[in-house]
Symmetry: D2
Subunit: 304 residues, 4 copies
């Protein structure tokens, strides 16, 4: 975002939601064992950390342990770049953990993939422009030109990369190059309407967020509102999930629904669904940005 854009007052854009905490966030999972919470809190305490949030969950069926813990780095005795190794040596390896260390002051960089439908696109731009999210959006990629003006007026680079069956591979290569060049952390598919290749998806595991316009697993695939109308459901939904190689089958991050009745045409479902998609997608992205999500065996564990 062009922070020096003289047209926009400071309050209208940018990251104005107050100086963020300087905190470390650990997302952990491992087999359930005695003493995990104690060991993790011991690690933080002995280096003079102050716990801001701690949430843990044990899946009793799988006997698997999940945890999110956040603590302030003000006064912490380890420097940020030392924490990961120290944690590995004293806690992580001992319990056979998989973990992910994040820092609240780092601003994630998001790319948006769009097509012609604009509702999720505009909704995200508005949140961006008003500084609602701690995120940078330096890059938008689309298979159409339509949404370029709205992107460019916020100073976001917009690339038109049409997708055809015969050139899909090379176009995806170009997309990957751009994602790399712009140091993108994760991708939001804002009604992109194209299926990404398995190869593409492998580059961004649990880092591509899609919004599907149905209550998954009902009505996966194309034209879900038409299918919902045909089936005569009394409630429609939207689902945001991480993209995996299986279409519309990745780990679900967020879902919500709205009631409909026989008076609603397919167009009405589309209209009502748009508002649902916007808010479901935004909640999923917000949880991703805030490092609230763990994924294990195609399910999400969300500590919000």
């Amino acid at each position: 975002m062009a922070r020096t854009d003289p047209c926009l007052p400071d309050e209208v854009r940018g990251l104005t939601v107050g100086k963020p905490l300087n905190a470390a966030i650990l997302l952990i999972h491992c087999n359930d064992q005695r003493g995990i919470v104690h060991a993790v809190t011991d690690f933080i305490l002995e280096h003079n950390g102050n716990i801001l949030q701690l949430d843990q969950h044990v899946d009793p069926g799988q006997k698997h342990f999940f945890m999110r813990v956040a603590w302030t780095l003000d006064g912490f005795l380890l420097r940020a770049e030392q924490i990961d190794a120290a944690f590995r040596d004293t806690v992580g390896e001992r319990f056979g953990m998989q973990w992910c260390l994040e820092f609240s002051i780092e601003v994630p960089r998001m790319a948006m993939f769009v097509s012609k439908q604009s509702h999720c696109f505009f909704d995200i731009l508005a949140r961006y422009e008003s500084g609602e999210w701690r995120v940078e959006i330096p890059l938008i990629i689309s298979n159409h030109e339509d949404l370029r003006p709205a992107a460019e007026r916020l100073g976001i680079d917009y690339y038109h990369i049409p997708i055809t069956p015969e050139h899909k591979h090379e176009q995806e290569a170009r997309q990957l190059e751009l994602l790399d060049k712009y140091s993108i952390d994760f991708i939001a598919l804002a009604r992109y309407m194209q299926i990404l290749s398995d190869d593409f998806v492998r580059h961004y595991p649990q880092r591509i967020i899609n919004i599907h316009h149905s209550f998954l697993p009902a009505f996966a695939g194309a034209r879900p509102y038409h299918a919902a109308f045909e089936r005569g459901v009394k409630i429609i939904g939207a689902t945001s999930h991480y993209v995996t190689a299986d279409l519309d089958a990745g780990p679900i991050i967020e879902q919500d629904v709205v009631r409909v009745n026989h008076e609603h045409s397919v167009d009405d479902l589309v209209r009502k669904g748009r508002d649902l998609e916007k808010v479901v997608f935004a909640r999923a992205i917000w949880n991703h940005i805030n490092h609230n999500i763990l994924v294990y065996q195609n399910r999400t564990y969300i500590f919000d």
Copy 2:
């Protein structure tokens, strides 16, 4: 229900929700044409009827017309038994309608089919005992003995008809005999857990109401809560529908949902789902009892 049961005070049971209106209810559908509402209201007016409720809907895609109209019979110039023929001659045939005429003072007779799960069963009995619904429940059929005491203490006849693959046909014949003997108008499958044969279903078209413990069409078939847990959905649902020859694919009458998260085990989904099933099933039955439902091409049109 044993109305003379001396143990129950009048206010606790029976049909105590006030003297019902003496009204006629017409449910109509036909191809959309000019003048339908006018013709129907003309029919009612010219016989001195006073319209209590009128709701119509045109499906613009199918160009099909749906209507529910109710009027008082106090002062109406036709006797109840004359209305159907008079309507046919002056309105019904002219517009090629299909219609259904009901009278609010008639109390529908419902049979309940149950198995071992008791939550929907108890919920319906409580509504029955407190007089919440205008319905008679003279008959309960089960493939187990478990719920007999609770049925019999309300004076409801309870038949234990176990279902085995080899005797299914003759047992269904016995069920049909009982339904006939008790003059049953419609059947509520209160978690009956048995699949009815196509032949059985044909005897009660749009008169068998099922409660399925998922948000259909997601998780049709067996063990939907386990499937929902596996898929990691963030919302679970329940669906009440008319039973047709296609399993869990009949016209949906009512659905509702409740949020879940990663902390909920399958047992938690079952627990939360029970309350959902009860209320979704009850709403569906209530709409059926009140003659609010039209079915056309596997969709319901509910004028509530």
Copy 3:
């Protein structure tokens, strides 16, 4: 909206949701009497109208009748400007009706009043820019300069009219002048944060729509999220209503809610509430634009 703005492709903005029907819409209410529906449908039929939608409601307590009926004007035997008088002479006066006649091809003109909070403002602009609503927004008035750039880039005139206690009267006079000059039909208070004088409100009866950030009548007045947090509610809400002389007490058009729990701070309530406000406000405006709303004795009757 600057329809000739060369920067915006046609599909991204403007009124692109298909050619609208050329329909007349009548909103009617009166004392309940025999024959109203018949008389109204007779009026439409005899002038060769084809009814698109008809919905009526009788409040049994007040014995008051409400109706919305829409019919195509293609082939109708009266010209648009003749309909009102003809209806009055043949139906309206006979039943002592109050009614309102609207035409679907007329595009309502909306003014937005804003302050510094941008979420409802951006949400409405996105709907406007994408052509989701049949509405013109020629005018935005604010007591701050902050949102001017976003308004002006869509070609909407933006007036900065600061409100101070001593100049409120003359500033409102200036606002009224602008509303008149721009031929404004109705006003959307998109988190305007100023209380309009009774005199101002009288100029736009049932034509000023507010969004209040609580589930009214709970937490009327200032700082509702703080009050909701203090009270420890488990659900927060938003309410859109017509503005009357009584603060936050006008007829409610739409409400919705979202669950919260003890983990949510006031900031979290504000964040979750923003998304709620946007969608509740948008649904209310949509119903107003589509002439779906009748108001009677401080209650709305919404035929959507």
Copy 4:
């Protein structure tokens, strides 16, 4: 409950949800300080406990710490009756905690207070009879005789204690005597419709659960459905809360809502509200029975 009642099969009643865990549950709150989670987990670990669940929350505004932790007593080195003192000596006093120690194998004893309305009463009896809750209900008190038969057929003692203004004090004394005699742990006011005196409430702090038929704080006091109808709300609610000296102002445990519209009469609100009250009340009682609730400064912290 008459466990030896020969009429009821085992599966239909009683505590049949599987052998419960033999666990200890600690509910803790205190000023936020460094090292609390570490100290609590240290206490459990050093006595060989295995943590089943741990959930903590810090209110950043009040800098107050809340926690629920549960661990198995199988193999725990302290006997149940030693735990409280040991915890006090090593952890509780050091951090200035207030805490509450519960044991999962103890079955809470609940009294129900009822009047004439039966829906919450029947709903609770059905959960009781089917063994859905780990609770004993040995005592029902009512100011009317109406619901006696349904109580007595489950073997629950039913006392008719009419309340009149002049005898309220002595009647409450009799109620307190009964509660004591039956060793009651907490009271569920299942639409009891009487206001308890401050003196009575003081005997059962955070141990009297009420269901109020509105979305509090809206429509506190009498006839909330009538008030909701008058105000024209689009959503109605129900609220379950602990009873305090201030009417309808105690800490809220659970709330839920359902949409209504202009077609719904007050009777419809009452009908829809009944189902809402049942489920909201049941969720609140379930959380109380499972020791999930902390109360601090008139807010609940629910670890479910």
